[in-house]
């Protein structure tokens, strides 16, 4: 939709959540040709021809743990569609696992936790800044695919490239970072995650249009969305997204600048058009954030529903039975959590007895275990309630998942060496 109707110069796909790279790394270990975002092919199949026709350049972090393989896949799709002479750049160098391992002794002084997880580490990736993407665009790349890059940098890079912004102009970097921060969650700027009818109404959420930033060389930006799409773009949606995952709005730390959003102001300049002004920035930090992902045991879970008269009492008895049996089975040292979905699973402090009797509710028991067998026991005990528990439990589900936990660290900037590889179709 953005490619077809958006009248845009750059299309950005931000696709990596915090632990996605670790999952991709595990996939790459199984198959060296994979390890990029599993939806990369689908997305590129959808936009590549249109982007080529309209001279829209693409920037994406879909490379995850394997940007080279991702670039190869894109090249294959381009060739199969007869798109010749396309330059596809892979940005690597965010993988700093070797560096972290080699210098683990030093890092343990600042991060003592490293000692206990050292033999369980899956991946360590630095959040790179915009510079390598800018270089790839300067070298004529039509598509840039990266691994871990700070999300706003994906959007800042095309601005630096197009306007020749000096990357030590901190106020400009701050303004470009604001653009990236507002765009990076896509629909969350245009009415997604906002509707609360009738207090906050959003039209046609099912056809939510994604946001577009119109940026000028001085860094001022107007936000809009593709025509004839659903959603809503106003001062309220922009204000929510401005503060999304932000702590101190004076200091939003990225590899390219410490952006200052504290004086940002929004003005509605047309239907679904909002102008943002007032972002500032200070010098970038000397160190880069790294996320170390490691294996951290298993979480087992089971759920079962109760409904009708006295459902609450039967559900509470069910919880007691399962917890008692898990303790007897030797899982008493494990972290266990029993709760009632619909009563106190989100509001842990809810007073179960004072609420009106629920018509239906669902028990949930989750627990941490060192091995898969103990984790599976939790769901099995919930399932056993079918025949051995209180009357009328229904709809048992159980699951076991391997936990990938994260340790954030800071490393010297020059410990990561970004590299660019360009292939042409």
């Amino acid at each position: 939709m953005l490619a077809e109707r958006g009248n845009i110069d750059f299309l950005v796909f931000e696709c990596l959540a915090e632990r996605t790279i670790a999952l991709a790394q595990l996939e790459k270990l199984k198959d060296p040709a994979r390890g990029f975002d599993p939806r990369l092919e689908e997305r590129m199949e959808a936009v590549l021809v249109t982007c080529r026709q309209r001279a829209i350049r693409i920037v994406t972090n879909s490379g995850a743990a394997n940007p080279h393989a991702g670039a190869g896949v894109i090249a294959g799709i381009a060739r199969s569609r007869g798109l010749r002479g396309m330059k596809i750049a892979a940005v690597t160098g965010d993988d700093v696992l070797e560096h972290v391992r080699e210098n683990a002794g030093d890092y343990k002084r600042e991060y003592p936790e490293l000692a206990t997880i050292e033999d369980r580490i899956i991946s360590a990736n630095a959040y790179l800044g915009a510079a390598p993407i800018v270089q790839a665009l300067d070298r004529g790349a039509d598509i840039v695919i990266t691994g871990r890059v700070a999300d706003p940098a994906l959007f800042l890079a095309p601005l630096v490239h197009a306007f020749r912004w000096p990357m030590d102009d901190w106020p400009l970097m701050g303004k470009g970072t604001l653009v990236g921060h507002l765009l990076e969650c896509a629909g969350q700027l245009t009415g997604g995650y906002f509707a609360d009818p009738p207090f906050c109404n959003v039209p046609e959420v099912a056809d939510l249009g994604f946001p577009i930033a119109e940026v000028t060389a001085d860094g001022s930006a107007t936000f809009t969305k593709a025509p004839r799409t659903g959603g809503l773009l106003n001062v309220a949606t922009c204000t929510q997204q401005l503060l999304y995952e932000v702590h101190d709005p004076h200091q939003y730390v990225t590899p390219d600048a410490v952006a200052d959003f504290s004086a940002v102001q929004f003005s509605q300049v047309g239907p679904d058009r909002v102008r943002a002004a007032g972002a500032a920035g200070a010098q970038r930090p000397d160190r880069l954030k790294v996320v170390v992902a490691y294996l951290d045991g298993y979480i087992g879970e089971g759920q079962l529903s109760y409904a009708g008269p006295n459902a609450l009492a039967r559900a509470q008895l069910a919880l007691e039975i399962v917890l008692q049996r898990l303790k007897r089975a030797g899982l008493s040292d494990h972290e266990l959590r029993g709760e009632l979905i619909g009563v106190n699973s989100v509001i842990q402090t809810a007073d179960v007895t004072s609420s009106p009797a629920p018509q239906e509710l669902r028990i949930r028991i989750a627990g941490r275990a060192c091995n898969q067998r103990d984790a599976a026991r939790i769901g099995d005990e919930v399932e056993a309630l079918y025949t051995n528990g209180p009357a009328g439990g229904g709809g048992a589900t159980k699951s076991v998942r391997e936990v990938i936990a994260l340790l954030p660290m800071l490393i010297p900037r020059d410990s990561a060496s970004p590299r660019i590889t360009i292939q042409e179709t």
Partner: protein
Amino acid sequence: MKLHALAHARSGDKGDVCNISIIVHDASSYTTVASYLTAERVQKHFGSMISGPVQRHDLPHLGALNFVLHGALAGGVNRSLALDTHGKCFAALLLDIELPHGNAPVISSP
């Protein structure tokens, strides 16, 4: 009256920290909300659900308060045993807080 009548909100996670933005529908409610909704009250509202301190950042020109809740997510999204590991529901939970008195409810339409 609940805060929900005067404001909208969004929460997000970073590690074991949850932030909640509270944004008033109408600028005239800002003083009422800002004077009642102290960091201490927010901490008390969540009670044993959070272990760490709460900080508040004020953005009066946006009609917004940004609360940063430490030790709020049972170790963070990847380790937590909770159902809502991200604390995405926290924003709505804070809108449930009862205000002593104040302005009439505001309904905003696009």
